[in-house]
Assembly symmetry: C2
Homo-oligomer: 151 residues x 2
């Protein structure tokens, strides 16, 4: 769990980069054998792309690093519970495990809004939730509070 | 319905391009006001990328065409019922409507394996299914039959 906290701190740094660009602050990493092979942060507004969620960016770079679509033996670390698109991408990429920080009651698809890993699919990644939960929730809370104050 | 058949024939041409590259043949288009603004075909093997499904490629090019992430006023045409990742992407991109050909009992997420548009989300695209269903199912059937014969 200690090492997951270290990775989650790195994911939080990526989330902070997103916040600095006025993007909803979410950051993600893909790890293989302890090494970071993929990384991403939410870039929906700056990239003008609905697909530019942190998890998809991290999976994209991880596939590029390994030069294969199958991310068996890899783990995804993300500050926020994945949405349906990202949970589906995690299944498609055959990731072994997902570690997330804060839960997302609005769109979280690993137990909050729905649980896509409970579908009768042939691949079910393991889930670890709540790593640095408070920090991961606070960065979002602060971002939205700041946005409201600007209006 | 007639015009959807015309678009679906174009999506089938993209699916055929995929088959020619030994990719599972799925093709997709994004339409706005009758004009094709996004297109894609499955490229998972050639791109070595788990995200390279036809729908994500089509949404990606449509966002690039309009230079915005919100595809309000647009429709997605796809030969096969979308998987969870692609159904989630369709929600995230705020597409108005999805038109698909063949159903997918294994991963279809607009009514077959699950129905992601039934989640209590704030955006629910309209769904039209079964356009050129037989042709869309046959191109897949022929592809897998051909693969089996090669082994």
């Amino acid at each position: 769990m200690d090492s997951y906290e270290t990775y989650m701190r790195q994911a939080l740094l990526l989330a902070r980069e997103a916040a600095n660009e006025l993007e909803v602050p979410v950051g993600a990493l893909v790890i293989k054998d302890g090494v970071v092979i993929g990384w991403g942060r939410n870039r929906r507004e700056t990239a003008a792309n609905a697909l530019a969620h942190a998890e998809l960016e991290a999976i994209h770079t991880a596939c590029a690093s390994l030069q294969r679509w199958r991310l068996t033996g890899c783990e995804l670390i993300v500050t926020l519970e994945p949405c349906p698109m990202c949970a589906g991408a995690i299944i498609n990429a055959r990731l072994d495990r997902v570690v997330f920080g804060a839960s997302d009651p609005k769109a979280g698809s690993l137990g909050s809004l729905t649980n896509l890993f409970a579908l009768p699919y042939n691949h079910k990644p393991q889930v670890i939730k709540g790593v640095l939960e408070q920090e991961c929730a606070e960065i979002l809370k602060d971002f939205f509070k700041c946005l409201r104050n600007k209006k």
